[in-house]
């Protein structure tokens, strides 16, 4: 592996070169998949269809759970393949939806006769490509597919005037919880119900301190001043609600939590899973500072943190920043969250 540097146009002063641990921009997805295969002997990789899948498939009678999306959000989704979570994940090009052939191939790989759940983030391309993949699978094998679409980003106004809210942090929690339900032997309809419950009870919002740099593009997706941050940013560098001056972590926590709490709304006495996520370029030290601030605000609202997750799980390449997701829990969701999981990125109870 070598450091590769590129010249950047003069208009992007201050970002002298793109510095990434890659060989060639066009090979990043394939070579990362090869790395996953080399690192995790439990997993298999189909390099032609760009699918990461469990080595013990299909399992008769178990509902298959697959997801997928553009690359650049690692460990989502390939890092969530394994016992108790996803059966397969389809990797698209960086920030580009995978194509229906991939979802067709993955659906066939994981279908043990009990049907397949597709976990889809609400982006126009992802929704349509998964829909076509499901249609092809139904036509080809008669596979029964149910898709659940995540749309938890409160930064986007949900209305008929937009493509709807984006699927962000809740996707990670949903994949863990629905995966556990499938592992328990629940039916496709039951697994889909659990997945819908997670999406309906979860809300997220993100904040960027820097842009990200797509390898094939070579320069930052957007310009953000040294003293600015983008509130409500999406995971592909989409614009947020507003650009505001840099602020201390306690203020950022409040800026993110207030819209989240008001939207569901979360109420005093609620038990939540509190997920403080890094967008790829922010150290864990800072994420724990964020978690501390978030926990103080939740305590002030009487919202109890029943479970927590802190780390880089749904990222935006090298973007510095964070997102906060709250998921209102009930006993079923708590026991599914606690159930054993063995994937590259989440692992407990094994």
């Amino acid at each position: 592996m070598v450091f590769v540097t590129w010249e950047v146009p003069a208009i992007l002063e201050g970002t002298a070169v793109m510095k990434k641990l890659i060989n060639a921009a066009e090979d990043v997805v394939t070579e990362a998949l090869q790395g996953i295969e080399a690192a995790h002997p439990d997993l298999r990789v189909d390099l032609v269809n760009k699918i990461v899948y469990r080595g013990d498939l299909p399992r008769s009678g178990k509902v298959g759970v697959i997801s997928g999306g553009g690359s650049g959000h690692e460990p989502m989704h390939g890092g969530f393949v394994g016992l108790g979570m996803l059966d397969a994940a389809c990797a698209g090009e960086v920030f580009t939806s995978p194509v229906p052939d991939q979802m067709l191939a993955a659906t066939k790989l994981v279908d043990g006769g009990a049907g397949v759940l597709h976990v889809v983030k609400n982006y126009t391309g992802d929704v349509m490509n998964f829909e076509m993949g499901a249609e092809l699978a139904a036509a080809e094998t008669g596979a029964r597919v149910v898709a659940v679409v995540t749309d938890d980003d409160v930064a986007v106004q949900d209305s008929t005037w937009t493509a709807g809210r984006r699927g962000v942090g809740v996707t990670v929690l949903l994949e863990k919880i629905a995966g556990a339900a499938a592992e328990q032997g629940r039916s496709l309809d039951e697994v889909a119900d659990v997945a819908r419950t997670v999406n309906a009870n979860g809300r997220s919002m993100g904040l960027a301190l820097t842009s990200c740099t797509v390898p094939a593009v070579g320069h930052p997706t957007f310009d953000l001043g040294e003293d600015e941050m983008e509130l409500g940013v999406g995971i592909h560098g989409e614009p947020g609600r507003e650009r505001i001056p840099l602020a201390p972590a306690r203020d950022i926590a409040a800026l993110l939590l207030e819209p989240i709490l008001a939207d569901l709304p979360f109420r005093a006495g609620d038990d939540v899973l509190c997920f403080v996520n890094g967008l790829g370029g922010t150290p864990l030290l800072e994420l724990y500072i964020m978690f501390n601030e978030v926990s103080k605000i939740l305590s002030g609202h009487g919202v109890r943190i029943a479970r927590s997750l802190v780390g880089n799980y749904i990222t935006s390449l090298d973007m510095a920043g964070t997102s906060v997701t709250l998921l209102r829990m009930d006993d079923d969701l708590l026991s599914l969250w606690d159930a054993p999981v063995k994937t590259p990125a989440l692992r407990w109870g094994i």
Binding site: D101, G125, N129
Partner: protein, 230 residues
């Protein structure tokens, strides 16, 4: 093609579309950079390159087979939202072409409309959402009107191309309500929709391939190989 579209006419339409996409690749990407994710030109170019290669596959000897192959190839290679939308357009169109060779103009117009219906079913777009629909729907309306008025096919296709371009230009002042551009809301105003722009190229390519006022052999299928040059 007053007597209808042969297999070779349809191949030439697709090849003409591929050429127009290639020469407008950077423009499409530039339009997409303003309100989307800056990959429409690259994605369409990748897809149409694969389509042109796939046109050489064996067994593509009917209009329906050619057009369905185009759809499947676009679905598999374009990605994003454009892959399913353009792919569905050609798949549905192929399904409505029937068995007659050459394809009569009325059948071709109806098949194009079946493609539009597929785009609507897939993308849920309506008039004024600032999408490819805003170029495609007026084009097919103009085509139907011209044919109903007894215009010859070449004039009808040219009317469709003019309507597609007008529809494309009309997207500029619209506020996007579908796709990634919709996150921008009011900030999408003032930018031409890249999907409408590539759709105008698709209809213009039909003029290149199908709309010329020229003498043609009247012909059974496969005998019309005289117009494959650019």
């Amino acid at each position: 093609m007053t007597n209808g579209a042969t297999v070779e006419d349809l191949r030439e339409w697709v090849r003409a579309f591929a050429r127009r996409i290639e020469s407008n690749k950077d423009l499409l990407t530039e339009l997409d950079a303003a309100i989307g994710d800056a990959d429409h030109g690259a994605n369409m170019h990748r897809g149409l390159t694969a389509v042109v290669a796939a046109l050489g596959d064996p067994g593509l000897d009917t209009p329906a087979a050619v057009v369905k192959k185009v759809g499947m190839t676009l679905v598999s290679t374009v990605g994003g939202a454009s892959g399913p939308l353009y792919g569905t357009f050609f798949l549905r169109m192929g399904g409505a072409l029937g068995d007659a060779q050459p394809v009569p103009p009325e059948t071709l117009a109806a098949a194009l409309r079946a493609g539009l219906d597929g785009v609507v079913a897939r993308g849920k777009a309506e008039a004024g959402d600032k999408t490819m629909y805003d170029a495609l729907a007026p084009a097919l309306d103009a085509l139907d009107e011209a044919l109903a008025a007894g215009e010859p096919w070449p004039a009808a296709v040219r009317a469709a191309a003019a309507a597609a371009e007008a529809g494309r230009d009309a997207t500029t002042p619209m506020t996007a309500r579908k796709g990634r551009a919709s996150y921008l809301g009011e900030r999408s105003v003032g930018h031409q929709d890249p999907g409408a722009a590539s759709t105008a190229l698709l209809i213009a390519s039909a003029v290149d391939a199908l709309g010329a006022d020229r003498e043609r052999s009247t012909t059974t299928a496969g005998a019309a190989g005289d117009d494959s040059a650019p």
